[in-house]
Assembly symmetry: D3
Homo-oligomer: 243 residues x 6
């Protein structure tokens, strides 16, 4: 079996160049531009001193996410969801995933009755926008938490550890890490994996786009994902060390 | 470690009683009431001789799904989505999952330029509505295809094999097959698995509700799911054999 | 003039077989499947310990209804109203009618500050869905009230008596009781009548679909309706006597 | 039993002063301001040379209606439906009624493939807006038809005769013709009747607001309505005779 | 250069006949029909003893406006915004302009915590609907304020002076005052000017429909507008003097 | 009168530092990040080979704009318009203004039957987002046109010249050029001016936020705007000269 040839001679188990720019915009408590190759997502963390109805009076906080894509983030212009008057099913699915992923590393009791909203807006898309969003949103959330700690609003961090995400998939029989757009379109199986820094699973979402996939294929994909996420967690830590 | 005690002395790897009633309503080309214990979903398959815009002129058909829950299918009354004016993110996520799962066993070229719509409406909910919906929708779709074959509208079946789905999860450290509502609420990890009759994966969606889960836990859950789905596929076949 | 021939040799003044199944689903305080021949409507009564804004602090309760039709309850698939994002004028008209009809036999002061919501969902349609819905909703509402009485939440029943509804119409010059779908489509005049057990009118809605109708025709239709409703009220009482 | 005292010493079977002003605005093919006492409705008839999808290619035309109420047509300001983003159930019910009523006196084949839209906008409300709207819309529609005949677009009138509407009700035991607002609020039974010039029924919609009503009461109400409509039809004819 | 010939031999700097009818409808605290030639707008002022959230507890009141156009106010029938489910961008732009213009002559502190809503509904359109609306809304608002003063609810008027508006534009090189519809369609530059009775600017909105306009042209347009507004302010005062 | 002190010792007639970055994203035919001090707007130009209905078959093209603001572009998080389900009046007003401004320098006949959509998304807001959007959108549009010319799809440029926009206002009696957020909030009069490279007006929108403004004040503001726009046009030209 010949191996699928990736752009830029990327190895099957290699991430695209990842860049994490903190403080990309000035107003948000956390603001991170994350780039996975040509995919660029602006992740902001906003802290508000109130919680949604289902948490009122509980002493607990809430972490939630919203996701959007600028109309021309993609090859051809997409509808503006605000103009169309509703968010697509895909958008809602992604923002629910980001929210669950971030809550997985938050102790909501320690957060107190406040909300952190992660806005993940795709400025440019080249595959893997949801995994970039989760990975970047964690850094933005950590910055927001650090600001709360520094301001004396929190005595103890509600963050239990890092969380990151990556896509994996099988293209022409080759399992690949971190799919870019042309690979995503061509792949038979597409899996998004969200893991904690401790190497445990938060979300696994595997979908057979073409033929159903075997257990052996799944095992290989999970192995790739684990490798990629370990690298992303290291990159998050490095980015957060900078002043 | 003590094992979680299931209602009705159900074993951890045991399905709830499954009942598949074909021809539950009279107008649809396929109409199946599927019951997983207290969960009851009416799945109808409707054949229409037209396709959505992205398939027009392609010679291919389309298979899609819509999902709904009657307001009082649950313990407390939920909003009627038609009255609220929009489908929730959860509803959209589920109907997209059902659609993808059914398309995984359809050769759209062989279907010709027509659409099969699977409407899955939950009459009574007790956990596992989406997996019951997929499992029942396959039977309704097969009935609709059989009608097209019998009517001479199709020369050859576009169905490549059965598809079924089941939920698995970890409650109090015990991996369980086919979660009912109280187990679903209590579980740390919740996974929905969709597989073909050949034992290959169509979808795997695992979510850590509480603590992140380990690879060993995932392996155990996948093993349980495989067992359950094999049983469901047998039940589908038995139901379809009846006149 | 020859008389219009009804399916199954039904006489012009004869109801279709009516079946009332209480406890059809388990969660609602009242849950009734009512069948008028091929028309099947699931009516659930939900009790909630709050009232809408216009009744708050009044000491009075509220009774209201919502109506829906599963997309494939009919010969050809209809749009799902939740997906389209709004309820049709027809749906709103029907649910307002059901609500008014039920309130006509409720003493809202005796109900106390709580709401009973009647959800009437058509599983299968063959004409007369709104009249079946009203007739079944009364039984579900009575079951819910009985549960409140048994639980000590009400000292006295707020129900002043039964209410039921039937359609009548003129097809090919013949006045008919309880129109099924093919008759409904063919009729010149269509009338829905809602009456109390005491034989008084709650609603009369007559519409000339083709030629306008005379006073003599209306009198004949009212006579048929009165007969039908008396039979329905007896069937409701019989169903409610069962344990 | 003492008789309910009406404002301005109006007799129980007396209409309010009715005024029909043709040509109230200049752009529409028919434009009528109709006044039933303090109720003032602007009815315009617009002719468009196209039909809705269900009539395309049928050779038949269509007659339809839309209804609205200016926010401050009433004692207290109501929401503007355009701002709220949807029409209420009441609005839809009324505009469907107006449309059916007008179609009852139109031969759609003779109209040809064109649409007449009746816009009925309430400038000031004092009870009976829907019956005033129907009565005025007929005059506007007739004006539009006359213009089509005069312009040679129609060889023969599609109008089969006049149609008018009135409300009747029982207040404090007294049956009354043409309810104004304070009577409408106080009434036990409220009935809207739509009749042709030939004295046949197009619509009868009776509702028990309080106690259910008897057959004798209905007969009395129908008698009052018949009298009122005969007078309205004469007023329509007189208005249409003026140049 | 020949001068553009206006209908009815109107001079370039001449207003159309303006008519202001107070008390046009009976329920609103202020109700004015204003006519600029063929343009007729019903402006009602409604007083409500509450303020929107951003003013609650501030001790200040609020003045706001809504704008609508009846579907057949224009040459060809337009969509009913309530039926379409949203207000157009044009509608929102206009109602925001009316609201700002009126607030410019209100001391919100003196108004106290109440809201005056100006509903401006176009019954017939022939150009200049927004300027007629502002000019008429002021008269309606003044009437509402006078009622509050007379009723002892206000000790002192919150109105700081009159406000009025007019359109100006350049057609075929000729600057014109108060454009009617055919002029509006033909003009290169269109400007709406809102001024106080003291001759100061509240809003200036100039738009080049065709070629961009020069400073000299703008100066000429502003001169025309100033003349027109002075006349409108005099007409408002005269109308308000009548009982 | 003391002069208002601007941040960074900016002179009253001085623009903030302006930065125009072409090619900010890769997919759009034109993609410009424009910065007016802390205000950063991403403007993309998308070319599509179709026109809206009102231009079909006309041989003419169309130029239109959409505007959005990321939820956390501002000091406190705003609602996401896509989630709320509609664009605010402010958003619609701004996008209509951008569209008109760009069309003012396009010869739609020369564009041919294609559409250029300008998407202006605010990444960070500090006053003047609409004027930055117009100024940046022109550069993006010019880049898209250049691509059409280079690709041989256009023989001749449809662009008649540059267009740019700036805000001016009066704060504490001092007329200021290019208001930043704190100045915008504090100003009495706020004016947005759009001009061509030839120094002619495309749009003038002046609003008295507090007291109405005099003709002398308007003249001074227009003078400032003219100066600022001349500088912006030079900056656009310089940016477009770079490869």
């Amino acid at each position: 079996m010949t191996t699928f040839q990736r752009s830029g001679r990327r190895a099957p188990d290699q991430l695209r160049p990842v860049r994490i720019t903190r403080g990309f915009t000035i107003h948000a408590e956390g603001s991170v531009l994350i780039e996975f190759g040509g995919t660029r997502v602006l992740c902001t963390a906003s802290v508000e001193e109130r919680v949604p109805p289902h948490k009122r009076g509980s002493g607990e906080g809430w972490v939630t996410a919203e996701y959007g894509m600028l109309p021309r983030a993609t090859h051809t212009r997409g509808d503006r969801e605000a103009a169309r008057g509703k968010q697509s099913g895909r958008t809602q699915e992604i923002q629910r995933l980001i929210g669950r992923s971030l809550r997985a590393v938050f102790d909501l009791k320690k957060l107190g009755e406040r909300t952190i909203t992660l806005d993940c807006d795709v400025l440019q898309a080249d595959g893997g926008t949801r995994t970039a969003a989760i990975t970047g949103a964690f850094v933005a959330a950590q910055d927001a938490v650090n600001k709360l700690l520094a301001g004396g609003k929190l005595a103890e961090s509600p963050v239990t550890g890092p969380v990151a995400a990556i896509s994996v998939g099988i293209v022409d029989g080759t399992p690949l890490l971190d799919l870019e757009y042309v690979e995503d379109v061509a792949c038979d199986t597409d899996m998004n994996v969200v893991m904690t820094g401790a190497g445990h699973y938060v979300e696994v979402q595997g979908t057979a786009e073409g033929a159903a996939f075997t257990r052996a294929e799944m095992d290989e994909l999970l192995r790739l994902a684990e490798k990629g996420i370990a690298e992303l967690v290291a990159l998050q830590a490095a980015a957060l060390k900078a002043p």
